[in-house]
């Protein structure tokens, strides 16, 4: 018959905190103002298609670009590949170009 272990057994889990010690900044509140204003429509606009680097993203965006050419020819699409590390937001030149020459961006594909 199974008997209770006589010794106390310790928990291997770590101490869990949401923030590092000393950081008492208030939690971020829910806010929709953090999104950019949306466009009235895409007609006549320039939309950047940004390949963030994961496998197949470029070919997926090829199809997005082809779809716009066929179905919404008034939209100008521009392809760009994100530079730098695929896991980080470490690029500026592509973002600056979009800010200067574009009105919207499609980014993909995560996965």
């Amino acid at each position: 018959m199974a008997t209770l272990l006589r010794s106390a057994v310790l928990n291997p889990e770590a101490y869990r905190t949401v923030r590092s010690a000393g950081d008492n900044a208030p939690a971020k509140a829910r806010s929709f103002s953090t999104l950019a204003p949306r466009l009235d429509s895409l007609n006549g606009k320039t939309v950047y298609l940004v390949d963030t680097g994961f496998g197949g993203s470029g070919k997926f965006l090829d199809q997005v670009q082809a779809w716009f050419a066929e179905h919404m020819p008034s939209v100008t699409t521009v392809r760009r590949k994100k530079t730098g590390n695929i896991f980080r937001d470490d690029t500026k030149e592509v973002w600056n170009e979009i800010k200067e020459k574009g009105q919207a961006a499609i980014l993909g594909v995560a996965g």
């Binding site: 272990l5 010794s7 889990e13 770590a14 929709f32 949306r38 963030t52 496998g55 937001d89």
Partner: protein, 468 residues
Amino acid sequence: MAVATCSRTLEQEYGIPTAPVSTYEFAGFMSDDLKFHGVPLRVIYTPHPVAGMPPAVLRNYIEGKDPATQRVVVEEIIEALTKPVSDEEFTGDFAPVSRTGVRQPLLESDTEDNLQRLFYERGWTDGLPIILPTEERVAEMLTGTNRAPDEVVAEIYLHDSQEYLKFTVEMVAIVAVMAGAQPEHLPVILAVASTGLPSIPGSTTPFACMLMVNGPIRNEIEMNSGIGAFSPRTLANSAIGRAWTLLTMQWGYFRLKKQFWSSQGNPIGYGNMCVAENEERSVWEPFHVQKGFRADESVVSIFRGWSFVNNVVGSSVRSVGEDTCVLLGALSGVYSAATLIFDPLVAKHLKENDGFRTKLDFARWISQNFKVPAAQFWGTDLVHMLMAPMAEQGIEPYASWKKLPPETLIAPYDKPENINIVVVGGETSPMWKVADFAYAASAPVDKWRARPVSDGCVDGTCGLPDEP
């Protein structure tokens, strides 16, 4: 994930409306990301996977339905860029949970079988039975170090929940007990823990790591650097290697689809190729000395990659160099990283017969002589993902390699210093292993010992705990 991070930057810093696209497999990850950043991005999901799909399938993804919403993907993309954000659209709670120092130090009293099951069901083990960390066993384990039990060894950040995990000396000792380690192994395990590096990083790829110990402690704790050093037959190698993976579990890296994504996994994760370098039989400088440590320091080094290939019989037909190049052909060459693991007989041969005075001499030869067609190099997804962005940035030699005709030969191991060479084995046959492992880190062991190491220590017991 870069898509969400970059989308946030464009939205918030550049005022550009975005439509971030992800495959549905990562919906949970995206959901966590949105929740904890408090930015309600309009993520559009496609079926999974995208990688490797032909154009017709990808077109169907675009014109077909988002698996999350059952709405047409391209219509969602257009709407994401044009429809004003409404309160109704997002119902999630975007405020992070407040949590400070949550931990129950002792478990409820129970039977051995039930506790074994509890450890398994909570995701604290690798599935095999563990040594239950009783107060007495953990106290004994702690005799292996002079450090205070409450000293923080590592602080781990979990991206999905934005939590910090504080891991103390006592917690490392608990895990060391679970892994079957002895007190004299604890300094090495603490050194590994101090790097904060997981044995299995969060990735869909089959990451694998190698753990190698240099210096006097190898022999003091009877680590195997000789015959069958990589095989499951030596307590110190097995327990230290297993402890690292059990630590990684406590650090949260095995939570399915939170941190753990590896589609097939990798059996190396059971023991992490934990070995010692065979310094006594090596004709070359020990690895830790190459990294700037003194020869009499004890050091643990970590290597990370995915795969290794064995030379199985030796090199009586081709030279060691030529055969190493053949084996490297099976690996990606990403970041010019490789780890060559030579039996002492091979190292001796390379030095005495082939004239490679140092490890770096041979690494330079490999760097110059291993060549592949440019198309083969860039055709590997891993290289395309990780190195093509550098070519796009104009970084040489990658920018030039990207412009070459497909059949042009390139030497992808352009950084010989990234080719690590270590000596392990028992000299029963002149064989070796070739791995795509990159050097990740080294950590000193001696500061975690039970007693300070004296300069004159020669009896093989330096810094070990006192006899009970």
